[in-house]
């Protein structure tokens, strides 16, 4: 504990509920086979997922893979990842040594290529190459896979399943797509199965199934109003295209649903855990709380909550606030004393006054934000066994060194810098 912590204004209250919690990811990374990082966009999922994988490879034997979704370009480069492609790449030992780490295991990285993964999925499930290419070439195919809200989420989990099944890694750490709503991720397998096999789809394609392409559409009483309206709005050629697409998808339905169920089972497996990342801002925090509650409701394992980009606790210290105020209020006399005692560059007292007031004002500004965050923090319920706080760094997490700096807050790491 630093001196600043001891006279913290709100810190002690905020911390008390967390005393019994672990402050390290070590137990999770050492015992689980899959760790899924979730949270709102921009909170640091990608960075923390990569840093966790790095930490695991640095401290434990075995092969670790980080499946990353949307890394910033510099971060992707530093992991040796190309722009596109599902290729798994090993991060070289030299990258570790340069960051002052002596790795005990291997770190591998891959980026998710949604389109490629979808194509692979179709090729696997279709009854034959001809059926597969009929789907791959349908002009609606790209649209469904690229636009369907849960498509990215689903494919991320599908990849996770595939890589896990391959048995190539001891630990897989996965980043998640920046969905509007973090919960979408959990619903994705069920929604995909429903989408491709639901009653609505069967109802929609019924006229085509019973009567052939130009079959007795008018006979189908139930769907008649729909076709009437849709025909008038969109033209019937369009509807036929859609029906054809779904019909070819339907023969893969069984395989698809079986797979989606397997993916769902994997998420429930005790070897899988979820880590929720948040910052101390209203929006992300609200989403994180919802997500944690939902995990519990669904009996999924909530391994840990990571609070990222936390401002330094010294901003909450009484002595700090007081010192900052005194420096601004007494700026003139302080400036004169500095000019007398220390000489240049304090001979321009007007400038010294300005610098002192700015310093004081800036401290108070950041204190306002830190207090708001601390207030939000104190309302945070208890979620999972592990609670980790990562400070706001003044620079981006853009390379292995940045990941290593971040990793030091996730678990104890020996680093020679």
């Amino acid at each position: 504990m630093t001196a600043a912590d001891e006279d913290s204004i709100e810190g002690s209250q905020a911390r008390s509920g967390a005393e019994s919690l672990h402050k390290s990811l070590e137990p999770l990374l050492a015992s689980k086979e899959m760790v899924v990082f979730c949270g709102s966009g921009g909170v640091g999922k990608t960075s923390i997922a990569a840093a966790s994988a790095l930490a695991a490879a640095a401290t434990m034997p075995g092969k670790v893979l980080v499946l990353t979704i949307d890394p910033a370009k510099r971060l992707a480069d530093s992991l040796g990842l190309q722009e596109i492609g599902n290729i798994e790449t090993r991060v070289p030992q030299t990258a570790f040594t340069a960051a002052g780490l002596e790795p005990r295991g291997e770190l591998w990285a891959a980026m998710l290529d949604t389109k490629q993964s979808w194509d692979a999925l179709i090729l696997r499930h279709a009854s034959g190459p001809e059926a597969a290419s009929r789907i791959l070439e349908n002009r609606l195919y790209h649209n469904v896979t690229a636009r369907f809200a849960q498509s990215h989420d689903y494919i991320a989990m599908e990849r996770l399943f595939e890589i896990h099944e391959s048995g190539r890694y001891d630990l897989i750490v996965i980043d998640t797509p920046p969905t509007r709503n973090a919960l979408d991720f959990l619903d994705a397998p069920a929604r995909m199965a429903e989408f491709f096999g639901g009653r609505l789809l069967r109802w929609l394609t019924l006229p085509y199934r019973v009567g052939g392409k130009r079959g007795a559409r008018w006979l189908n009483y139930a769907s008649k109003p729909f076709y009437q309206v849709a025909d008038r709005l969109l033209g019937n050629q369009f509807l036929e295209d859609i029906a054809e697409f779904f019909l070819s998808f339907q023969e893969m339905y069984e395989a698809f649903v079986t797979r989606a169920r397997a993916v769902e089972r994997l998420l429930h497996d005790k070897r899988t855990t979820f880590a929720v990342v948040t910052t101390l801002e209203d929006g992300p925090l609200h989403e994180a709380e919802l997500f944690c509650a939902e995990l519990e409701k669904r009996n999924l394992h909530l391994g840990c909550l990571v609070i990222n980009k936390v401002l330094p606790s010294y901003l909450l210290s009484h002595s700090g606030v007081q010192a900052a105020d005194k420096l601004s209020v007494n700026a003139e006399s302080v400036a004169e004393r500095l000019a007398a005692t220390c000489g240049s560059p304090f001979d321009d007292t007007a400038r010294t006054v300005r610098v002192l007031t700015t310093i004081g004002e800036s401290f108070r500004n950041f204190t306002v934000v830190a207090r708001r965050e601390s207030e939000l923090r104190s309302h945070l319920g208890r979620h999972g066994e592990v609670l980790i706080e990562v400070p706001a760094f003044e620079v981006d997490i853009a390379d292995i060194d940045g990941l290593a700096r971040l990793a030091e807050f996730l678990l104890p790491i020996e680093r020679t810098v």
Binding site: A72, P225, Q237, P312, L338, C342, P345, F346, T358, I359
Partner: protein
């Protein structure tokens, strides 16, 4: 430096950007600013997270506009409600099963078909603007809290996408005037909100080129939000560095009645945060040739109407008002 764009002279303003940068905040501020300059404004929240209601401290929004501030009306987009309204206005088909299952079926089709869902959003927005231009609705300005960068291109491109797949019918013919309205720089401006951080800047640069390649929609300004204050000039910095030396710290310590270490540390953090951001801002400036508006980071206790007003003032100043 490009001169301040005449955003308030347009009729339709979109604000997009990476998640969390401040789209809703800037949208609300723009609406407030316009209303204070005598305009009657409609705010459309596309990705309903009830952020707009929070910014005006009002109750949750619905599809029917409600007045959230004098002369500012706000609505939440709802594609099903939009479809209902559309069908009511355009078709006189007797719908046997009611709209429920129909809407569900169309929703389903919309997932697969390019542009169907998007057209319900963009169509409603364009319709409100056209009605106003032709004197049947009373909006001087429609401000849209639009989707994030990832989705906004397909949303604004919906009229074209529909034209590609739908050969005939009323839907097709209606896309023409929508496209024309969106392309008209005297009416529409697509604005991008960003922060001076790596990913928001990268997405902004990427979006500008995608908009220019794929859409015929006129771009307005880039709004750089949450700009941290500059603390020191170069000569100030020399003074600051010397303040951190042992002899000066002693003087400061006596004056402050305690250690000033954390105060100096906080100032150093503030300086480096700003420096990191400056490099991203530099890249944005070098790559994007749109006018830029800068809005300060607010060190505020909460984010309600009071803060919306502060952002609106800053926006007004940046627009040269």
């Amino acid at each position: 430096m490009l001169r301040a764009p005449d955003l308030l002279g347009r009729r339709l303003l979109f604000f997009t950007g990476k998640g969390g940068v401040g789209k809703s905040t800037v949208t609300a501020a723009m609406a407030l600013l316009a209303s204070e300059r005598g305009k009657r404004v409609l705010v459309v929240e596309v990705d309903g997270k009830s952020s707009i209601a929070d910014r005006f401290e009002t109750a949750e929004l619905s599809f029917t506009p409600t007045e959230v501030y004098p002369n500012v009306f706000a609505m939440a987009m709802d594609t099903e409600a939009s479809l209902k309204e559309y069908l009511k206005l355009n078709l006189r088909v007797p719908i046997v099963g009611g709209l429920g299952p129909l809407a569900k079926a169309l929703d389903f089709v919309a997932t697969a078909a390019p542009g169907v869902k998007e057209i319900l959003t963009i169509g409603k927005i364009c319709w409100e603007v056209r009605e106003s231009l032709e004197g049947r609705a009373a909006w001087d300005l429609v401000v849209v809290d639009a989707s994030a960068t990832g989705h906004v291109v397909s949303q604004l491109g919906a009229p074209d996408a529909i034209r590609d797949v739908v050969a005939v019918g009323p839907v097709r013919s209606q896309t023409d005037w929508m496209s024309a309205l969106l392309a008209d720089p005297s009416i529409t401006a697509l604005n991008i909100v960003a922060t001076a951080e790596e990913l928001p800047v990268a997405e902004t640069i990427d979006l500008v080129s995608r908009v220019r390649e794929q859409l015929d929609v006129s771009l307005g300004a880039v709004v750089v939000n949450q700009v941290l204050p500059a603390l020191f000039t170069r000569s100030d910095e020399v003074v600051f560095e010397r303040l951190c030396g042992a002899d000066a710290r002693e003087v400061l310590g006596i004056a402050a009645g305690g250690d000033v270490g954390v105060v100096l540390e906080a100032a150093r953090l503030a300086v480096s945060l700003r420096t990191t951001r400056a490099t991203h801002l530099e890249r944005l400036r070098e790559t994007v040739d749109l006018p830029m508006l800068f809005l300060p980071y607010l060190f505020a206790r909460s984010h309600g109407l009071r803060e919306t007003r502060l952002v609106a003032d800053a926006l007004g100043a940046e627009l040269g008002l």
